[in-house]
Amino acid sequence: MIQSDGESCEFRETLRKDLLADEEFRYGYAESFLNTYVAAQIKAIREQRGMDQADLAERVGTKQPGISRLESVNHSVWKTDTLWRVARALGVRLQVSFETFGSLLDEVEAFNRESLERAKPNTDPKLLHPKPRPADSESTMEGIATETGGSFDHHRVFHVIEGGKKRPLVDQSSLVTEYINA
């Protein structure tokens, strides 16, 4: 049974008020959330990789019951060394940071399989594709020229044809953008 957006708003608003109102409540909630999140994410990424618990155990250097314990929402004693070994076995990195309780609202709402899964390095678009730097048009043009087997003359002035008239292209960054988007 999928609840409506209205119920979702009510859920968030109730949680917001409760986290704000009581310190014991918010720490109890946040700690339980963290333990559940870590366990769920290990399971989700493991399944994303097509592994069973025994496969992951072998890569981590432990036994299957050890992975079963880590994938329990009731597990609460986490060692960063262990988490790093799991991260390495799954092809991801571990991040530990201190966060606000406000951000917890978004994290609870977004809790689903898709939000837990992570790409491996060889399928991570941010690792695979360099981001172009439009501000540095000359070096980008040089890169493009080299890539296409040509050369780039830094002293050459580019021209554009507008309304039948030729004029120097002062802002070469737009040329770069047009080339990249072509």
């Binding site: 049974m1 609840q3 720490y27 909630y29 366990a39 929402v73 609870v108 809790f111």
Partner: protein
């Protein structure tokens, strides 16, 4: 959007039995919050993403013959670290016929001691399930309050 729905059984005056249980057992506020967090994540992500929360079906209980254990009962496992109590609310899937597989109902609160559920708790939970099947008004979506005394 929630994937799962968690209901609670209501008493004859349509009051929350979960709240009454938490108050009667004087469950610490932090542990109430921990229970709520787990149920919130169950509702958001579904059973697959909260491993080791729902256990069962329960087929054995000390002092009870197996044939006397009502079928289709499960327990939620919320481990009591920090000296907390071992919370084991008894639940069932559904149980109304029109309920999809992603619905559970908390039938009875329970505390596990020495790895044992309280005597007769499964019998009581089974009875609550029967009451609910005959009177669907005896449940509502579970909202665990922050301010349980």
């Amino acid at each position: 959007m929630s994937l799962w729905t968690v209901y609670e059984f209501l008493d004859e005056n349509l009051r929350s039995t979960v709240r009454a249980w938490l108050e009667a057992e004087r469950v610490p506020k932090e542990q109430v919050a921990a229970l709520r967090a787990k149920l919130d994540l169950l509702s958001r992500g579904g059973r697959d993403l909260v491993p080791d929360l729902i256990h069962g079906p329960i087929k054995k209980q000390k002092g009870t013959k197996q044939k006397d254990i009502p079928p289709g009962l499960y327990k939620l496992k919320i481990r009591g670290n920090k000296g907390w109590k071992q919370l084991r609310p008894i639940v069932c899937y559904g149980p109304l016929p029109e309920d999809p597989p992603s619905v559970i109902t908390v039938l009875l609160g329970a505390i596990e001691a020495n790895w044992q559920l309280p005597p007769d708790c499964l019998k009581k939970a089974g009875k609550n399930k029967e009451i609910l099947l005959n009177d669907p008004k005896r449940r509502r979506i579970l909202r665990i309050p922050r301010d349980v005394a």
